[in-house]
């Protein structure tokens, strides 16, 4: 497997270099593609798009808050973060799987590795796998995205090592299923019915297949914990699962479980930003009641 990985890395490198240096014919085709159509004015080249000032200002404020809190955590300031009730359920679920001698099923969502929800899911997977390894319980992770699979294998391997049980890690427990959305749902549902895991984790970003998997898991009597930033799937998870991490709780849980002060600093920055947003909303509501216009972004406020 490491040999195959190295080969894949070299292939990526080769293809990337090939892509980075386009052939003259490609250059020409690209220039033609990007050229404006006849009669259309040429796109203006500007180093700053003023229409996006309303995005830039809040982003800079948030980045400033995050840096301030991270610096504060680095100086050793103890940051308090309240406990999320759903996290107690994770311990309970793994404990139950251990008692029943059955595996834990962890689904990292259907999104790719470049999505923040998947990054948060990988953090939680690390903690779940570590706990499961300490209890000598098997963790199964079927994946829809091959890149996520590769990361999940590393995360679980590291977690087993941290728990002092690298011998228990089996690479075939973290495997690729299919890129097809409902093909993945069918495979996971079949796995739930055949293997009957005692605990199912749905952590990450899900789409329409969420209910198919969550209801199948419900029918097997497994304890189910979900965490998603997909607002459309939240009602389904709340109905079918025992505990659900709602929206930002997914990100907060991943940071909370890590216990890393720098990451906790970023969580405090999120709280501070929320406070600013609440103040901003209140000002907006009062302004609306008083019929004041506050659209100063566009310079038309009065």
């Amino acid at each position: 497997m490491p040999g195959l990985r190295r080969l894949t890395f070299l292939w990526i490198l080769w293809l990337s270099i090939g892509r980075a240096i386009p052939a003259p014919a490609q250059e020409q085709a690209l220039a033609q593609e990007q050229a404006p159509a006849e009669g259309e004015p040429a796109a203006e080249a500007r180093w700053f798009d003023p229409d996006r000032l309303d995005v830039l200002i809040p982003t800079l404020i948030f980045a400033g808050l995050l840096l301030a809190f991270v610096a504060s955590a680095r100086r050793g300031t103890r940051l308090f973060v309240r406990r999320i009730p759903g996290l107690d359920a994770i311990d309970e679920a793994i404990g139950r799987a251990t008692e029943m001698g059955k595996p834990v099923l962890y689904l990292p969502g259907l999104d790719e590795m470049d999505q923040p929800g998947t990054v948060a899911s990988m953090n939680i997977l690390g903690q779940v796998a570590e706990k499961a390894a300490a209890y000598e319980t098997r963790v199964t992770v079927p994946n829809r995205d091959p890149m996520v699979m590769s990361v999940a294998q590393d995360v679980v391997r590291t977690a087993y090592g941290r728990a002092g049980r690298p011998d228990l890690y089996r690479e075939e427990d973290v495997y690729y299923v299919t890129y097809s959305q409902f093909g993945y749902a069918a495979a996971v549902s079949g796995l739930m019915l055949r293997q009957r895991p005692a605990a199912n984790f749905f952590i990450g970003h899900f789409f329409a297949e969420a209910l198919v998997m969550a209801e199948t898991g419900q029918s097997t009597g497994a304890i189910q914990i979900a965490g998603t930033d997909s607002d459309a799937q939240l009602p389904f998870f709340i109905t079918s699962c025992d505990y659900t991490l709602i929206g930002e709780e997914l990100y907060a849980a991943s940071v909370y479980l890590s216990g890393e002060p720098l990451l906790l600093g970023s969580l405090k920055a999120q709280d501070a930003a929320k406070l600013l947003i609440i103040v901003y909303v209140v000002i907006g509501v009062v302004a609306a009641f008083l019929n004041l216009k506050l659209d100063f972004w566009t310079g038309q406020g009065g």
């Binding site: 990054v119 953090n123 607002d231 970023s266």
Partner: protein, 220 residues
Amino acid sequence: MLQRSLPIFFAGLVGIFMAVQYFVLHPGMARIYNLVLDWKQVVFACTLMLGVFSLIRFHWRKIARRTADAFYSLVVVISCSITVLAAAVFGTETGPYTWLYDRVQAPMQATMFSLLAYFVASASYRAFRARSVHATLLLLAGAVVMLGRVPTGDLIGFELHGQRVSLASIAAWILDTPNLAAKRGILIGVGLGMISTSLRIILGIERAYLGLSRGTGADI
């Protein structure tokens, strides 16, 4: 050391570029942006190879060990091989590969999707059991919204201060006011979480995407 710091450095560099290019209107930036997206596709195609390798190995082991569900694994390996051969020999535009896709894969996907209707029914039954005040409120709101979204909802209503209040208008109010307010609250939190995660990656604090999740700081 380089094995860890180099990917973190590149992730930060690309992260900063992606953030900056959003605010810049320049063809050069757009070109690099498209190039990065192309690279992503290339990387994906390569990792797909790892995925297929993992899939075949997983099922092959099951077949070799003659586990209880080895038959399903055999079906996976055979159908995967037939599909790959069909595409390699006859191409992907016409022929057996398209036939397999249109006549086998697409109907199977549609079947799984249609199962959702039954799962929605079973989930709704559980959610709408009026066992507490909250569940009763949910049941009432659900009934009003469902009735309000069909033509009958327009016909059911009453007059209030000379204005007609129908189930459709109450359903629209539920969806546009309390429902949307709660949804936006969740979305703002999610948005902040996403920005925070992205900034952590740029700053090199977040390393989960490299398979380096942190040690347990808090008991689960």
